[in-house]
Amino acid sequence: MKYERDPERIRRVLGDKVQFIQGDMAVTYGAVLAGCSFFGGYPITPASEVAEGAARLFPRVKATFIQMEDEIGSIGAVIGAAWSGAKAMTATSGPGFSLMMENYGYAIMTETPCVIANVQRTGPSTGQPTLGAQGDMMQARWGSHGDMEAIALAPSTVQESMDMTIESFNLSEKYRHPVCLMTDGEVGHLREKIVIPDEDEMELVERVPATIDKEQFIPFTDSQTQEGSKVPDFPTFGTGYRTYVTGLTHNEKGFPATDKPPDHQRLIKRIVSKITDDREALTNVEKIELDDAEIAFVTFGASARPAESAVRMARKKGMKVGMLRMKLVWPFPRKVVHDLSKKVNTIIVPEMNLGQMVHPITEYAAKDCEIISAPKVGGEMHLPDELFEILEGV
C-alpha cells in the first residue's frame, strides 16, 4: 500500500481543532500531521497509548501500523521503512529504549531519518513503569557505542508533545538522523488542551531526494545538490540508485572500509559535524523572567512546570528569579547557557533524575556562576514549594 499524505483526510480523522487529550495521543497526532506513514512499535507503559493511537488512526490515513515482536524489531522496521521512503517512527519507554540502542546507532551510522519517542519512566531496569522520570537524557546522547551526536527534544506540555513530534520529523529529515522525542510519563499521561494546526500553520520539512545522474551519485558524502550541506541526498530504495547501506564503516560510495582509518575519520566527523555545525541555529529555548534575574532555573520537559510555578511564587515575593527552558536538549545549547551563566549568580537545575543535564550545564557555564543540582527521583515531579525552598536557600 503506497502512502500519500492527504491533508484533508488527516484533519478529518484527527477531528476537532481544539481537543482535550493525553500527551501520548498528542505524539500520535503529531506523527499523523507530519505525514508519518509507518509506525512500528511494541507495547510498554507509559508509552503504549502512542501505539494504541497509531493503531487507531494510521489505517484511516492510509499509513501503516504494525505491532512488532519487540523494540529491536520495531526500530529495525522503522529504519527499513525509512529507506523505502517513509517518514517512520516508534515510541517506547526505558527498557525498550535500551533495547533500541544498537539500531539507534545503526540509524546514526547509515544516516537514516526516523523518530523515536521515549516516554520516560524511572529506571534502571523495570523501575516504576507507571511513573514519569527524566533519567534517559544521557542515554539519548550517548546510548550507542562509538562516537555520535544526538538530536533530542523535550516537551513540557501536551501541545508541545504534538508540535515537537512534527519538529522531530522535520529535524530528522533535514539532518538524516534519528531524533529522540524525550517526553515522560507525567506529560504522556496528562490531559490538556491542544490546538491542532491547520495546514498553513505548519511547516513540514521533506528529505532531499537524490536527483542527480545515477553514474555521478555518491551516496555518503556532502549533498551533491544543496550547496554547503553535509547531509547527503537520499537515494530512496526502489528509485534506481542501487545503494548499498551498511553499519560498517563505509567510504563515500557506501562500500565497507573497515580497515581504513581515514575513511572512518571522514565519515564520523561528517555525521557529527553536520549537526554540531548548526548548534546555534538548532538552539531552541524558552526564556521566562530572565531580563533582570539573579537566579535562574535551567531545566526542560516536565521539570519546567513546577520550576515555572516556583518562578511565579518568587516573583510575587519580589525575588529576581527566572527560567531558561531547553526545548531542544541535544545538541546542547552551549552558548545560551554560557551567556545566561554570565548574567546570573546562580543556576538551579531541577530534573527528575539524580542529575544528568546538570553536567553539560556545569561544563558550559562560566566558572564563577554557582550551579545547584536539584535532582528528584522516585517517579514524582518536584513540588513548586520544594523548588521555592531551594530558591530561599540561595
Binding site: 507507571t130 507525567e186 496528562l190 490538556e192 488542551k193 512546570r305 520550576a307 511565579r312 513540588l383
Partner: protein, 179 residues
C-alpha cells in the same frame, strides 16, 4: 483563580471520564486552562480510582493538585482512601447510597446519582449524573459548556441517555444543600 477537583470511585465507574468531561468543559468549551491526571495502574482493573482536574484562569505550571477544593466520591473505599488532605473549606459531594459511611463531622452535599441513573434505566450513567450534580453545586463552569463536553465525550447512540442523566443530576445538585 485556581480550583483543584478530585473525583474518585471504583474502577469501571467512569471517574476518569467524569474528570475528562470537566476538564474539557473548562478548556475547550470555556476559556479556562485545565489539566487532568489520573492514578494509573491496577486501579483500571477495579479498586479505588481517582481523577484529578485543575482549572485555572492562569497558565498551569505544576500539573498535579497540591490541595483539593472540590472532593467528589462515588464509592466508600475511595472516599476513605483519598480524603486525607480535604480542608475545612473543601466542598464535598457524595452519593449517600454509594458512600453510606460519610459522617465525618462536617456538612457535605449528598446527591443520589446512582438512583438517578437507575431511574433512567442504566446505572452506567451514574458518573454523568454526578457531573451534572457537580456542575449544579459548584459554581465554576457554565452548565451549557459542561453539557457540550458531555455530548462530545459519549457515544452518539447514548447521547440522550447521558443528557438526561446530566440534566437530572444538575437539577438535584441545584437543589442540594450541605447537610
Amino acid at each position: 483563580m485556581k480550583k483543584e477537583i478530585r473525583i474518585c470511585g471504583f474502577g469501571g465507574q467512569g471517574v476518569i471520564l467524569a474528570g475528562f468531561i470537566i476538564g474539557k468543559a473548562a478548556c475547550v468549551f470555556s476559556d479556562f486552562n485545565a489539566v487532568q491526571s489520573q492514578s494509573y495502574g491496577p486501579e483500571a482493573r477495579g479498586g479505588a480510582a481517582r481523577s484529578e482536574v485543575i482549572i485555572s484562569d492562569e497558565k498551569i505550571g505544576y500539573p498535579r493538585p497540591t490541595g483539593v477544593d472540590l472532593y467528589v466520591a462515588m464509592a466508600q473505599e475511595a472516599f476513605d482512601t483519598y480524603r486525607s488532605d480535604v480542608r475545612d473549606d473543601t466542598v464535598i459531594i457524595i452519593d449517600p447510597d454509594l458512600v453510606p459511611k460519610h459522617d465525618i463531622g462536617r456538612p457535605l452535599y449528598k446527591v443520589q446519582v446512582q438512583k438517578i441513573a437507575e431511574e433512567l434505566g442504566n446505572k452506567i450513567v451514574t458518573n454523568i449524573a454526578m457531573v451534572g450534580a457537580m456542575t449544579g453545586i459548584y459554581d465554576l463552569l457554565d452548565k451549557e459548556a459542561v453539557k457540550k463536553a458531555v455530548i462530545d465525550s459519549v457515544p452518539k447512540r447514548f447521547t440522550d441517555l447521558n443528557i438526561n442523566a446530566f440534566e437530572k443530576g444538575y437539577e438535584a445538585g441545584k437543589n442540594a444543600r450541605p447537610e
